[in-house]
Symmetry: C2
Subunit: 198 residues, 2 copies
């Protein structure tokens, strides 16, 4: 079994949890989905280009940010089992104002916007799955603003940690700080205090 076929298994199980998948669909799907590997530091999407693919992360971790390289404003982190797109750019197939970069060596299964649309057109039952998945991501899309609301660094950290402890532990502090809207110095000091008090 190829690496791709092995990875596809997980994704198919995921999709099958929404509706029955037909034989024809699975064949079409196999042909449209591509396996990609991005080494740490490499880009899945560059600012100024169109987000043409939706990526299902099989292993690894990616960061999405806007702003300049030294003044990053991190929008989110995604890890294995999650989907990565730059929303505006993907849905509208317009130029992206942000970038997506691999924070670890990352393996993804990718499908292009065009191919996905074609799948929807040819397999209408997929619409329901698409709606449910979109609803799921939409539902969870407030986390960032929930985190940023408090001004106190500790409260921000705690709010994020509550939902994404795993991410917090595997991400460089500097990048985490750029997500929390804190200076890396502030986060460093905060974590020192937290370590001390337990």
């Amino acid at each position: 079994m190829s690496a791709k076929q092995q990875m596809m298994g997980l994704l198919k199980t995921y999709l099958a949890s929404f509706t029955m998948l037909t034989e024809e669909f699975l064949n079409d799907f196999d042909q449209k989905v591509k396996l990609n590997v991005f080494e740490k530091g490499h880009y899945l999407l560059r600012k100024g280009t169109v987000c043409e693919h939706m990526h299902y992360i099989e292993t690894g971790c990616v960061q999405c940010y806007i702003g300049t390289k030294d003044r990053k404003e991190t929008l989110w982190f995604m890890r294995e089992g999650e989907l990565a797109i730059f929303k505006n750019s993907f849905y509208d197939q317009s130029e992206s104002v942000g970038s997506i970069v691999a924070l670890e060596d990352t393996r993804v299964l990718s499908i292009s916007y065009k191919d996905l649309e074609q799948l929807y057109a040819e397999h209408p039952f997929l619409e329901r799955t698409g709606r449910k998945i979109t609803e799921y991501y939409h539902k969870n899309s407030d986390l960032k603003s929930y985190v940023l609301y408090p001004k106190k660094p500790e409260e921000r950290f705690d709010r994020y940690y509550q939902y994404r402890a795993d991410i917090v532990h595997r991400i460089p502090q500097k990048q985490l700080a750029s997500f929390l809207g804190l200076r890396e110095e502030t986060l460093s000091r905060l974590l020192r205090e937290k370590r001390k008090n337990q």
Copy 2:
């Protein structure tokens, strides 16, 4: 033509912009959608209850918030032509951690979760519309975190104003401040400066 029928027109035009609507669907739809009026200050959803309805706002303006009444953390404002639900509570039909209140006298067309699910089940073509609408709202769901990222009050205000100038002008300052994550005193001073400098 009843007030409801008049309002339905807009909503149907909106839905028809996604796909052809069948006669049977329109009949079902009419029966499931209810016209509701909420006076200023009245609640569309109370914390601790389940968000059973999706509301299409025909006229007026509503605010969604979490936290206590005196320490509001406003999540969003919606106005005529927009949909209002408390996401987690509606999609999962679970207890809401937040409330939705009318900031003006507000007229809405409402459909229950159960009825909506039934519409999806009986009219599969609606799934595509549902997906597109969800994608649209999902796409725009970063505004709040984009606004909250900067610490400078002015930058927060400007970021919000750029996308929701109409809302800014019709909302009480105090409520706007609770959205921007600022004290009302700070917002008051900021606006005074802005007025002066032009």
